[in-house]
Symmetry: none
Subunit: 204 residues, 4 copies
Amino acid sequence: MGRKKGPKYDAIIDAAVVVFAQNGYHNSKVSKIAQEAGVADGTIYLYFKNKEDILISMFEEKMSIFVDRIQHEISHVESIEKKLEIMVEMHFTQLELDPDLAIVTQLELRQSNTNMRYKVNEVLKGYLGLIDGLLEEGMKQGLFDPGLNIRIARQIIFGAVDEVATNWVMKERKYALTPLASDISDMLIKGLSLKSQPELKGKG
Amino acid sequence: MGRKKGPKYDAIIDAAVVVFAQNGYHNSKVSKIAQEAGVADGTIYLYFKNKEDILISMFEEKMSIFVDRIQHEISHVESIEKKLEIMVEMHFTQLELDPDLAIVTQLELRQSNTNMRYKVNEVLKGYLGLIDGLLEEGMKQGLFDPGLNIRIARQIIFGAVDEVATNWVMKERKYALTPLASDISDMLIKGLSLKSQPELKGKG
Amino acid sequence: MGRKKGPKYDAIIDAAVVVFAQNGYHNSKVSKIAQEAGVADGTIYLYFKNKEDILISMFEEKMSIFVDRIQHEISHVESIEKKLEIMVEMHFTQLELDPDLAIVTQLELRQSNTNMRYKVNEVLKGYLGLIDGLLEEGMKQGLFDPGLNIRIARQIIFGAVDEVATNWVMKERKYALTPLASDISDMLIKGLSLKSQPELKGKG
Amino acid sequence: MGRKKGPKYDAIIDAAVVVFAQNGYHNSKVSKIAQEAGVADGTIYLYFKNKEDILISMFEEKMSIFVDRIQHEISHVESIEKKLEIMVEMHFTQLELDPDLAIVTQLELRQSNTNMRYKVNEVLKGYLGLIDGLLEEGMKQGLFDPGLNIRIARQIIFGAVDEVATNWVMKERKYALTPLASDISDMLIKGLSLKSQPELKGKG
DNA sequence: TATGAATGAGGGTTCATTCAT
DNA sequence: TATGAATGAACCCTCATTCAT
């Protein structure tokens, strides 16, 4: 972490996660983030262009770790099915381990203006690339339908996983999220597959 | 439409769709909506509690039509697979027919504060109820996996469809959305199904 | 009452007393007065020029009764001392009998703009004329200091009585006001009197 | 002055006196005060909670000086009569020396809402305490009636002086105010005194 | 780098008043 | 007279950002 420099950069990012999660993006004052980070208001602007940039940067920082971890975990795995399952599992686990980040990612991040949505997508590319890799490999292996529209399939996978995560946050994380992963990846695999796979079940 | 009263209510709603789509929720001034609707600023507040209420009400108005239309269309259809396909198709078609509404629904609506997200979900219940109905019927008919977690399945369906729609809006509607419906519903059906369905493919 | 016309005029005046007393002048909406009076908002403007005019008219209406009653009571009395005592007593009694009017008179009336203060003084002239009459008569009778500056003396009397009344209202009318009248009028009479003051320096 | 901090605090207070005097409280825009003080609008809110707080703070600042000066002057004086005379004189002189403050004190301050009236009274306590001190001392010395109700007597004194001052402001300060002080204090002393009043019928 | 006092643009909302009916 | 829906001017305050130190 800390692509740019100094411990203050990280402190501000971490403070922003907490403050955004607590108050939402629009209700979070920059001065509150500064306070939480233990720096002066003006210092924020030595590290970030503006308030939006804090959100973007935070997302970039956290997302790159997020993606790196997933990539690392699935790199050891052979089967496509298992790779997808672990991907979803890791996605959920990481959200469960950082509730503040989960709130920001699933809810607050979408409160920024439309223009920012595009930047968020930019950041998401690393993650979406992972999915694309899975799909291509699956098609090559003859596991998935050769006629698969990768872009659409990727959107379906991401949309499904993201929606489940969002609902979990909106239900105030009252239930465990990670255990849902295998069911979801099973359904997705089935949906993408060429034919019948009798017994996909189980996180086994 | 016009649950409340008068042509001005509708005029304001319609103006809001246009203005929100153009500028985003946070950048839309109430006075601009008034201007677009051809009423005085103060008139807005005879029909709506505040700016947020315009957004919510707009969503309620439009969403109830949206759901009613889908419900009407699928009521004539027997097969579950076809029902889902038509649901997705209608979902997409309606967004394509009202690009401003599509922008607001897929992007701007999510910019409101967290608290509003909950209200949006309230409004979505009608739509989600349709999905649940489909799922229950499908399970009863032995088409879907009897172990299906309906809540999760519903989230996957909605998440997938919603994400595809959002991507289409963010790509500035450069391609046709409706034709994607059958592929998507096919995948979803396959994912939800109990076992092998040799030839699920499409309207083709 | 009802110098102008119709029962609605009176209804509006009476409603205004209640509403102004409850919320203060600036926090009282014209529509609330209309509601309380059982008329439409627009009807108010058939009887009153504007919101301020309601306050002024109310004060005129009520004040003329106020002054008439005092005048009537003191007309039967011979002694100047007694006249002043009864004047103060009546002043207090009438406020005690109409707590809403007391609040409006002592507090809310002063919340209007400066320009209105002048109009209020116009209305007060009837009352101040009574005081002047007392003073002139007292001087003629040799009771009061012949060097008395009537204007100042009148201000002292009115100021004293008014301040006691205002304090009583601000103390939320927790004590009886009328019993204070005789002490006050005694002091005032003493202060105005010719009699011995061993060594009153000053302009002598 | 400047209980809080910086020259801007004082500048804003002084600007407020001028602006409130010119336009009245309700017609004074905060931005006008900022302009007059030579600061940005937002700066006001670094020093004051809101518009009302400016008025209150202004009154507190000015009133404490006001009271301190009177206290200082009368501390050198022996006789009660003289003390009261000087108190009234100082009261008037200070108003004459700061006409803008006089307008605000006598007229605009009373335009605020009822709730604020209570705060104003809080601020006035210093001044009223001076009067109480005088009264107690006068009673101890046997100069004033031992049966004096101090609270009422204080209200009479303050009410009389205040009313004379208010009239002077409303008459646009066309005449000299200070010269009236000795007559007024004479009357008040006489009114409060023990001495003979042949036949003052009490409430008894 | 770091500070934090100062800036000033920006807009949702109220409500007295009007006027077509 | 009476209505009450419609008007639209008016303004306090917030807070992201700057900049002198």
